[in-house]
């Protein structure tokens, strides 16, 4: 009997101590703090074709959870403290598994909020399930435009949409060499890359470029020989396209092996990933669009200039913490994962509640800057949740003064860390 009393007293003291340290001010108003778990569900491609980029994204999410936990949780105005917990499964990069597992996350694991898997095809599959169940999902790793044009009410995208991925590369290319006339487009036939090309092809044509090869390849293609023969025969000045990491890497490698002599090559997704360096010399001069780079500088000052609040860590802090935790540099997929977490965190704080309707209202109102860039969602019912403020940069693999290959930001001009070069 006495034991219980003592234990109860201890619990009381502990609770008071917690309240006193984590939410200053809560004590004065006499409000008790309540710690609650916030269960965040998502699937990741621990295996399968998308595993590299997906793991980066998951690491970004994990770092965010760490940072929140270290800061003592997400503090709401009513004194509630939310401690994020991850519930995650391996989707093996397969759509049908994504749908089965998101159903399970929602129904069995009773998650509070969802984050997305990696890659547009999988995000789309997850979006359908979360929309059907009325769960709020913040997506990273899903850039497809079409996905966000289906009248969704609960999905919010932190990536710049696919339609903007290669248009900037075309601007860069023409600035670099206005004599470029013939361009070959070879892309993966998935939702993301198709969206990219649907925007990039007319854009190229509007700039007076002639599309001499325009072919799609299936997801999982390993032999690009037939495409490369077509490209070689058409002798284009530039090649744009690609899809995701495995195919983009292979395509770059085979273009190099087959000595294709285009002056400008821009590929999706693969070039900004550090593992792209595995193909050695073949990586040199390849350009790729990126959502974020370690060299990107979005700061409190930049936010002030733009007239929006700055939220979360600085880019330098993010990069340092990431390298310390995972002993590898972050890629834009990592930053995207972290940014998705931050977005949810800010919305919860603004809403002061975990009520999905209130959180959605907060997300709809959001317009803020993070180390990852500016974030604002479309509120037009037709494109609700689509990212409309975030901007991309373009990287190129270049040799530094030490002769080592590394990525440099080469576009837009005001953000560049090195001058772009033509392929030799």
């Amino acid at each position: 009997m006495r034991g219980i009393t003592v234990a109860l007293a201890l619990v009381g003291l502990l609770a008071a101590a917690c309240g006193g340290t984590t939410t200053p001010g809560a004590g004065t108003s006499g409000q008790a703090t309540v710690k609650k778990d916030l269960i965040i569900g998502f699937t990741a491609s621990q295996t399968g074709a998308q595993n590299v980029a997906s793991n980066k994204q998951t690491e970004g999410i994990k770092l965010w959870v760490d940072d929140v936990t270290k800061a003592g949780g997400i503090k709401l105005k009513d004194g509630t403290i939310l401690m994020p917990q991850i519930k995650s499964y391996d989707d093996q990069s397969a759509t049908d598994r994504v749908q089965a597992l998101y159903t399970k996350l929602i129904n069995d694991d009773k998650v509070d909020f969802l984050l997305s898997p990696y890659s547009s095809g999988l995000v789309k599959a997850a979006a359908v399930v979360s929309e059907q169940n009325g769960k709020v999902m913040i997506t990273a790793g899903g850039a497809d435009d079409a996905t966000m044009e289906q009248g969704f009410r609960n999905i919010y995208q932190v990536y710049t949409p696919a339609s903007k991925y290669l248009t900037g590369a075309i601007d860069l290319m023409l600035k670099l060499d206005p004599t470029i006339k013939k361009v070959a487009i070879v892309n993966e036939k998935d939702s993301f890359s198709t969206s990219v090309v649907a925007a990039a092809k007319p854009y190229a044509e509007s700039k007076g470029l002639q599309v001499v090869v325009n072919q799609g390849y299936d997801t999982g293609t390993v032999d690009f020989g037939p495409f490369i023969n077509q490209i070689s025969a058409a002798a284009p000045d530039a090649i744009i396209g690609g899809g995701h990491l495995p195919d983009g890497t292979t395509l770059a490698k085979q273009l190099y092996e087959k000595k294709v002599s285009a002056r400008f090559v821009a590929l999706l997704v693969a070039p900004p990933e550090p593992t792209f360096a595995d193909i050695g010399e073949a990586a040199q001069f390849i350009v790729g669009p990126s959502q974020w780079e370690t060299q990107t500088k979005y700061s409190a000052e930049a936010a002030k200039t733009a007239g929006v609040p700055f939220y979360g860590p600085t880019g330098a802090d993010f990069t340092t913490a990431y390298k310390a935790k995972f002993s590898a540099p972050p890629s834009y997929h990592s930053a995207g994962g972290y940014a998705a977490g931050l977005t949810l965190q800010k919305a919860l704080e603004d809403a002061g509640s975990t009520d999905p309707e209130k959180v959605k209202t907060a997300l709809d109102k959001d317009d803020f800057m993070t180390f990852y860039g500016r974030i604002k969602f479309s509120t037009d019912p037709k494109t609700h949740g689509k990212q409309i403020a975030h901007e991309m940069v373009y990287v190129q693999w270049l040799k530094g003064s030490d002769g080592k290959l590394a990525t440099q930001i080469v576009w837009p001009a005001e953000a560049k860390s090195a001058d772009p070069q033509l392929r030799k």
Binding site: N107, G121, K124, Q132, A146, Q150, T194
Partner: protein
């Protein structure tokens, strides 16, 4: 010998209906999702049973009708705002018409050649639709979410899809039973045992086989329409998934080919196993190994499958389990 005609079909349907009502009664969405898949697999396995179990033609690529039904219905809903129920029927009919057209030539092939041809047809269809832009090509098709407004939102649409899937499964089982009890069913089984002898006793094998094939294509097409209506998204790799095709074949063999209850037992067992294994990371792919092992054991030792084995072991059961 006194043969009691036990009310097998009504009893079976009542049991299935009770199972189907379970998740609604206890309001368990997760269970409903699992049963949705189970009823779909019952439909697929029972349909394959009509052409494989009764007629003796192993249709490896039977999933082609699931995919076609799904695509046709999806296209109608997406582009013409057709009501789901209308679209499902309007999608299944052309799928069966295609079964008629391809059935006539390929059912002339015997044994392994037929099996290979059905694989070829499924793959040809998958790769062709992969390039067919009106159906969205490799990206597939994707509902605008306003499609679900007709049915009172996405949640109610999922409920409707569940109900329809249950009805389709019950209809398949009923059809399977009626065929087995009919003269038509007898002629199919005669073809299975010996096509030449069947011909001698006045059966037109070519005609009977094609009819069986067309019937067995109709229900998978309905199931496909329902499955993709609920999914809100359809793409060639998922619609024409050869593995799903062969899994439903495994269920059929596991439960007992040529019996009415076999495919149901097989589908329920297999789906239960799959649901258990899918979320255990270490075992996530193990279901394939187990499926293979089960199939091998059945093929080598229990040719009749579970239900068939029971019927052989306890002849008294023959009156009760078909």
């Amino acid at each position: 010998m006194i043969r009691v005609r036990a009310p097998f079909l009504p009893a079976l349907l009542v049991v299935l209906a009770i199972v189907a009502a379970l998740p609604l009664a206890v309001n368990n969405n997760s269970l409903r999702e699992e049963l949705f898949l189970m009823f779909m697999l019952i439909t697929l396995a029972s349909s394959i049973n009509i052409i494989m179990g009764y007629t003796g033609y192993v249709s490896f690529g039977h999933i082609v009708f699931f995919g076609l039904g799904g695509y046709f219905a999806f296209y109608l809903m997406q582009n013409f705002n057709a009501h789901f129920l209308v679209a499902a029927l309007a999608g299944a009919i052309p799928a069966s018409a295609i079964a008629l057209v391809i059935g006539v030539p390929i059912l002339r092939l015997r044994g392994a050649y037929f099996a290979l041809a059905t694989i070829g047809i499924n793959e040809a269809m998958r790769t062709a639709i992969n390039n067919f832009e009106p159906f969205g090509g490799a990206v597939g098709m994707f509902f605008n979410f306003s499609v679900y407004d007709t049915y009172g939102g996405a949640r109610n649409a999922a409920l409707l899809a569940y109900g329809v899937m249950v009805v389709v499964a019950l209809a398949t089982v009923t059809t399977s039973y009626l065929i087995r009890r009919s003269k038509f069913g007898l002629s199919l089984m005669a073809i299975r045992e010996d096509q030449d002898v069947a011909m001698v006793v006045g059966i037109d094998p070519a005609r009977a086989k094609v009819v069986a094939y067309v019937i067995s294509s109709f229900f998978p097409a309905l199931a496909g329409a329902t499955f993709f209506f609920k999914n809100g998204i359809i793409e060639p790799g998922v619609a024409f998934d050869l593995l799903r095709s062969i899994e439903s074949l495994v269920m059929c063999v596991l439960g007992g080919t040529g019996t009415v209850a076999g495919p149901i037992v097989g589908a329920a067992l297999y789906e239960w196993l799959r649901g258990f294994l899918i979320t255990t990371p270490a075992l996530a792919n193990f279901q394939l190994f187990l499926a293979g092992l089960l199939l091998l054991v059945v093929v080598l030792f229990v040719t009749a499958g579970l239900v068939g084995w029971l019927r052989n072991r306890y002849p008294v059961l023959r009156a009760y389990i078909q």
